[in-house]
């Protein structure tokens, strides 16, 4: 049995011949498409390391079956930078030292991109901490993560303002 699934991954249309209905989006990305930037930390939606954007929304890719995603637009950490130019969230994570081991980082960054896009974060650090709490960082880089989200948000708003002007 093989299912044909159409996905757009990081802007590229892909047709996936899915030989097994049990495959999650996370395992598809990591084990079958060589997109290993997205990480598996718990495989049950508890840690956030596998966060990607599907149709612009943040999801835990370990909890999504590929078979249910026909036609979806998927963005992963690999699709964030524009060539060598880092996305403002990526640059802010480096500057604020928002990671140590780096394993949860792709998920943290995709979460941050999602929540900034959703317009939920505001400039309130307390609110950012709450909204980033679906992503566990065992190294304890939370202070840097919060700073990075606030800074990236500001940079992106300024850029948007400049473009509008």
């Amino acid at each position: 049995m093989s299912l044909s699934i159409s996905l757009t991954i990081n802007g590229q249309p892909r047709t996936i011949a899915l030989d097994d209905p049990r495959v999650t989006l996370l395992d598809l990305l990591r084990e079958r498409l060589d997109l290993t930037g997205t990480k598996k930390g718990c495989d049950r939606g508890q840690c956030g390391a596998c966060t990607v954007l599907v149709d612009g929304r943040r999801i835990n890719s370990c909890l999504s079956l590929v078979a249910s995603l026909d036609g979806a637009d998927v963005q992963t950490i690999e699709g964030l930078a524009d060539g060598d130019a880092l996305h403002p969230v990526q640059a802010a994570f480096i500057e604020a030292d928002g990671f140590q081991c780096g394993y949860c980082t792709p998920g943290q960054i995709m979460s941050a991109v999602g929540l900034i896009k959703e317009g939920h974060a505001s400039g309130d650090p307390e609110r950012v901490r709450e909204l980033m709490s679906g992503n566990i960082c065992r190294c304890g880089a939370y202070q840097g993560i919060t700073e990075a989200v606030l800074e990236a948000q500001k940079v992106m708003a300024d850029k948007k303002g400049r473009n509008a002007a």
Partner: protein, 748 residues
Amino acid sequence: MSLDAPSTNARYGSNAGQPLTRRDGVLKVTGRATYAADNHPDGMLYAVTAVSRIARGRVTSLDVEATKAHPGVVEVMTPASRPPLAHDPDEKMPPFGFRIEVLQDSTVRYANQPIALVIAETLEAATEGAALLNPQYDADEPRTGIDDGLRFDPPAVGVGGPPKAAFGDVEAGLAKAAQVLERDYVTPAQYHNAMEPHAVVAEWDGDHVMLDMPNQALAMSCASYATYFGIPPENVTIRSPFLGGGFGSKAIINGPQILAILAARALKRPVKLVLSRAQMYGPVGHRGGTWQKLRIGLNNDGQLTALHHKSISATSSFDDFLEPAANASTHLYASPALLSEHEGIRLDTGTPGPMRAPGEASGSAALEVAIDEAADACGMDPLDFRLHNYAETEPGSGRPFSSKALRECYAEGAKRFGWAGRPLASRQMRDKNGFLVGWGMGTALFPCPHFPAEARATLRADGTALVETAGADMGQGAWTALAQIAAEALGLDPEQVELHSGISTLPDGGIAGGSGHTASAGLALNNAGKDAIAQLSELATNDPASPLFGAGNIGVEARAGRLYRRDDETRSESYAEILARAGRREIVGTAKASRDPAAAEAHAMFSHGAVFAEVKVDPDLGQIRVTRLVGAFAAGRIINPRLVESQYFGGMIWGVSFALHEEAIIDHRTGRIMNADLAEYHVPINADIPSLEAILIPENDPFVNAIGVKGVGEIGITGTVGAIANAIWHATGVRVRKFPVRLEDIIG
């Protein structure tokens, strides 16, 4: 901390002390940093372990046929079919070797022990195949509580540490005390829970094996794997550029990884094994629980007359790693009589192992609360009490400290926190919402171990350098800090220094553990760099065509890619010029470095710190929030303040976790852990963490090693746990002596 301020630790012309961003930053934010499980050699198979649901007994049957019948399953490894190993897994392998469970028989020694390995063409098939094994058991009563386990006197605690330290006469000291405090403290079993599960991708080529795995001790692990597989150590290559967190759990060989490597050899195909989160609660180590007792004698002046710290530390039924908790009391507060001792208790769990600040974390948690209780008993401010009992020399031994800027930590931390004016009694402060507010503090302390390490520094014809040492960047920022150290030794900018690391074929970088990696590998790189510069100086000063001719080796100084005459700054030559004229493509400096044994013998070597915490407690619900945390730490010379601040933050967050969150909860009827996942085994999330402040107290240590570096990775936990528990008492008047502190302890 302002990252723009020049560090007082900076040396002239040196990059060290500068807050450079991480060298691996771009790789890590773009998803291009390669962790073990990201590897996918051609023809790779997937292995999944099946684990025991009972904690003690034996497996009586496995439905291997059902598993083999599942499409995609290639092989099932059970005790009946497991290929032989060249080393008996029930024999310990020194120095860090443990007995491991690799299907040697059908015995079950703890819940979550591997009982079979299923290998399949896909991850999905291997996972389902493992679920089809339908194991049957002959179960015995599990022994997982303090009253169930066999007690014993351990020959050693931690990794070969002394189980007992005694100075002076503790009983006499207690007898003459004006008052004696006797208190019991309990700390739970905790699991490392690195974000990256333990993984291996194993690929054999004849009798050579390539292992992609997260590993904190490359050279030591190569030797261990070689012994298990009966091949020379040089036939084992481990690639471990990054670890997704180690915290001690990735320094020691474990059973599941051995089984996957065996499967790869037997099936002649690469095999990948990644543990599930739940499977990390068993065969890969944990922090064993402790039951601690402290007895403190106090005179009328608020000084200690005796300090007795005993820990009953849990280990497994079949091997020993005892949390050396009581040893935390032997280096910190002055007391004419000191006794620290341990007793072991055997439980049906996996064998514990080192977990971030092994011993110091659990021991400091109890000690710092006990000291707070002692201060209260004497009617003294907790900071004044600690200063009153300050150890000018190492308690017991009387040795001088190699450096100890703890007074400065106390002073600076207290100032930044605003400690002055803290009411002595509990339940005195409320915020505008009516929450109870409390302030507490704790002293932080961690030793400075040093591991032998090797490095190579190659000066290249273009004046740049390649430096090499085999270590992993597990988040501490090794690639960055080590390159800074090497650049300083080589007189180059860090951008001119390429660092190769993370593979076992490079010179042995020692162990990334014990907070000793930067000091150990750093000293090796420093010495290798100096060796290269010495050879270069030799070339130049002996060459009549060089402006440095005749200066002699010590007559020149390396700076900004040039050698300068010390007595005449106008005479200098670039590295590239010297190499070109000598017709040399490169100069290779090497070093094997360890600590000077005489300095180690003569001094007590520790990092110190002081942590101040504010908590707010809901008076009706008992809900506890840490609202402020300030730590001031002195840890020798700081190579990169940005990275060091992050290490302190991480340690302090582990302290929050120890105080309020982490605990493996065991169902004593089944011996199984009931919360073996990241939703129910609580670790702090972003919303749990208030604004943190870490203050880097300057400290010059001429004895600890030639680069003056101590360690920063673990000290942040110590002190923080006590500070939070003490703040909870100050807020509520309730003294909780069992960790983690829960709201029912407050309202109960």
